[in-house]
């Protein structure tokens, strides 16, 4: 037993390092889980007269997807979002984050628009209120307007099935 002790300690260390190596350092726990989603009111892309505010979604479970036209990973998840919308799975609101070059309307027209609303967060202030550190980030917001989950990084079918679907089931949708 005694002669195996160093090896056992070594393996325990390796276990910790291996776990640490595969953690995503950008996956920072959000302080908003279980708390009300911050309120805001922003003009819509392509229709600056109209505005969007989270209160409009009261009573339904929805996704707040923070994206930007300059973000390459957002284009990777665009297809997944499109198929979710086409299947009528859940309403998705696409917060257009810091789109300084004003490209969102043209991009959505060209590639398809998976969003029910596209609020325009030009200076990124609403992003700061939500603790956004980069795009894409996606929040699941429940019928009472609380943040149920946050996902950092693009959504692929695997992430959707393993992370989002169980959460939505839990919320009863």
């Amino acid at each position: 037993m005694k002669r195996w002790l160093p090896l056992i300690l070594f393996l325990v260390l390796v276990g910790f390092f291996a776990k640490g190596l595969f953690l995503n350092p950008r996956e920072v726990p959000s302080p908003f889980i279980g708390k009300p989603a911050p309120a805001f009111s922003l003009p819509l892309v392509g229709n600056a007269e109209a505005s969007f505010s989270p209160a409009q979604m009261q009573g339904q479970v929805w996704l707040l997807n923070v994206w930007a036209p300059w973000c390459v990973s957002c284009r990777h998840e665009h297809g997944v979002l499109m198929s979710l919308t086409q299947a009528g799975r859940i309403p998705i609101v696409g917060l257009n984050w810091k789109d300084k070059d004003r490209e969102a309307a043209a991009l959505l027209a060209a590639t398809g628009n998976p969003y029910a609303f596209v609020p325009d967060d030009l200076d990124g202030r609403v992003g700061i209120d939500y603790g956004v550190t980069g795009t894409p980030e996606t929040y699941v917001i429940d019928g009472e307007g609380r943040v149920a989950m946050k996902h950092v990084g693009p959504i692929d079918m695997d992430v959707w099935q393993k992370k989002f679907e169980p959460k939505l089931k839990e919320l009863g949708v």
Partner: protein, 159 residues
């Protein structure tokens, strides 16, 4: 070997950079309108983590988000918030992760007191080893062996 490592690193890199940000390499513009606020900003921004380049402070980072956050801190300070309130404003949004000095609370006890725990384990191990060594030294030598050794010494001296 080095080439192989490079390939491995390059292959892994996109996985770690899944979510991207607008990180710019240009210099952060200097705002010197209000030296008092700049001084205060520098004071607290050194203690805050840039959430994009996570090993850089908010004061040192040139990432666009860090720039936005510095602008936000200036706005809050101009609105009359004191330093503690500004830090609270940021932790409300980004969590304790934004602080380089994690606050003392039950989930961080292990972090704060872990080193003491390891020190205690080390001290206990040391004590046990010392005690064991003491008992080893006190073990009486076998008289038969001592006699044999003395006989050998005698032999070599008389020769």
């Amino acid at each position: 070997m080095r080439a192989f490592m490079l390939v491995v690193v390059l292959a892994l890199a996109p996985g770690f950079a899944l979510a991207e940000t607008q990180a710019g390499t240009r210099e952060a513009p200097v705002h010197a309108e209000d030296p008092v606020i700049e001084q205060r900003l520098r004071g607290i921004a050194d203690e805050l983590r840039c959430l994009v380049c996570q090993n850089e402070s908010l004061a040192a980072s040139h990432a666009e988000l860090a720039e936005d956050l510095r602008r936000e801190i200036r706005t809050q300070m101009k609105a009359g918030l004191d330093d503690a309130q500004v830090i609270q404003y940021l932790t409300d949004r980004y969590g304790d992760f934004v602080l380089y000095r994690p606050p003392l609370k039950p989930v961080t006890y292990l972090l704060w007191f872990g080193p003491l725990l390891f020190l205690a384990i080390g001290a206990a191990t040391w004590y046990v080893i010392l005690r064991r060594r003491k008992t080893l030294q006190e073990a009486p030598a076998d008289p038969a062996k001592l006699a044999a050794a003395a006989a050998l010494l005698d032999e070599s001296q008389t020769k």
